[in-house]
Symmetry: C2
Subunit: 230 residues, 2 copies
């Protein structure tokens, strides 16, 4: 299996017909996994709050979810903290979600063969699903156009699980991500990232702990035709 | 001191009036440092072998140096192995040098205020020279347009020395490079890189050992007006 790492959304290219794994570990892809595990019907990602609000005027049982600068959008039902996506809030609902980085990464990956949603929570299920793939591209969303240590560390976690049961051929970014995580916890690297630090300053330290839980959810959300589902 | 890392030549931007450190540890910048330590008068970098050969038709005591795909160019005096740049070969000579990645990185950095040449050999002298700077940009040349683990590890070495005596503010790439090198030797990461592996396959394993020597040369080469000197 050939595994390559794209360090930020802006560098996505050459993914046509490949299998893509989307990482925005703090916090969009973690929230997506949590929401679907708690019974959300589906998630529709939007690039802008306006688009999400526009869609919400249709009939349906929707929740508006999303953030800008880490904070819940005005007039929205939920922000982007995975701890908000409880069964009580999301069960059987369609989530209309817009986040700064995660939804952009998905939107730039539409030419891929498969688009899977990754978090630490579902890393083992994800890796099990990837085992028959010949070529996997791990897309780190990054933060506001820049490399983000949190997503890169999560790429290292995916790789460390992939190599347990597969013969993998890594590019240099993949080797770096794997070695960076080796002998470290994901939490320590999330906390060392500027994004993680900013979330802590906003009072979201518990989100870093939540996003660092490895293999607690046995689902692999995927994106298809505008919708994220399981 | 604000320290940022550029992971490959193609991402160089916003360096105007900043102090730039160029890294092509395997092997161009290491060879430059070795050559000047062994008495070379100056080094003139060229993007192409043709330009270097054209310049050599001028009068002067020149040596043509350079590689493509790691191998010495046909008709050239020296390749790009730092072990070739002995006092016997280079003393008082002007070196006309063209390499795949290092000279391109320098050429893309011409708007900088200062351009310093970095290798493990001169990392301590380099860091001493940088101590009064407010903003340092570490440019990893990369390999053929891609992120290269060898240069990124060397960026980590520069940062680990910088933070010994300076209060530094790192971007996420800088944090990643620093943590990647922590508790590892530079050699182990050079050997883990695809570029290092290719050099080993070409029979240059001793070059990886040579390029991993820390702080053995007390010089800081800089680029100015087309020439690298000390």
């Amino acid at each position: 299996m050939r595994v390559t790492v794209i360090p930020r959304t802006e560098e996505i290219n050459e993914i046509k017909e490949k299998t893509v794994v989307i990482i925005d570990v703090l916090r969009a892809t973690t929230s997506m996994v949590a929401a679907l595990a708690n019974g959300a019907k589906q998630i529709i990602p939007f690039l802008t709050p306006q688009e999400a609000k526009g869609y919400a005027t249709h009939s349906g049982d929707f929740l508006l979810c999303g953030e800008r600068k880490g904070v819940k959008l005005s007039g929205f039902d939920l922000g982007n903290s995975p701890r908000e996506f409880t069964r009580e809030r999301v069960e059987n609902k369609t989530l209309l979600m817009t986040t700064t980085n995660g939804t952009r990464a998905i939107n730039q990956s539409l030419s891929a063969k498969h688009i899977f949603i990754a978090s630490a929570l579902n890393v083992q299920a994800l890796v099990e699903r990837l085992k028959s793939e010949r070529e996997v591209v791990i897309v780190c969303a990054g933060t506001k156009g820049k490399f983000s240590l949190d997503d890169f560390a999560m790429a290292g976690l995916v790789i460390s699980f992939l190599e347990k049961n597969n013969d993998i051929d890594l590019d240099d970014l993949g080797v770096a991500a794997k070695l960076l995580l080796k002998d470290r916890t994901l939490y320590s690297l999330l906390a060392a990232s500027h994004h993680g630090e900013r979330l802590e300053n906003l009072g979201f330290n518990e989100d870093l702990v939540y996003c660092s839980q490895v293999g607690v959810i046995n689902l692999v959300p995927y994106y298809d035709a505008g919708v994220i589902k399981i």
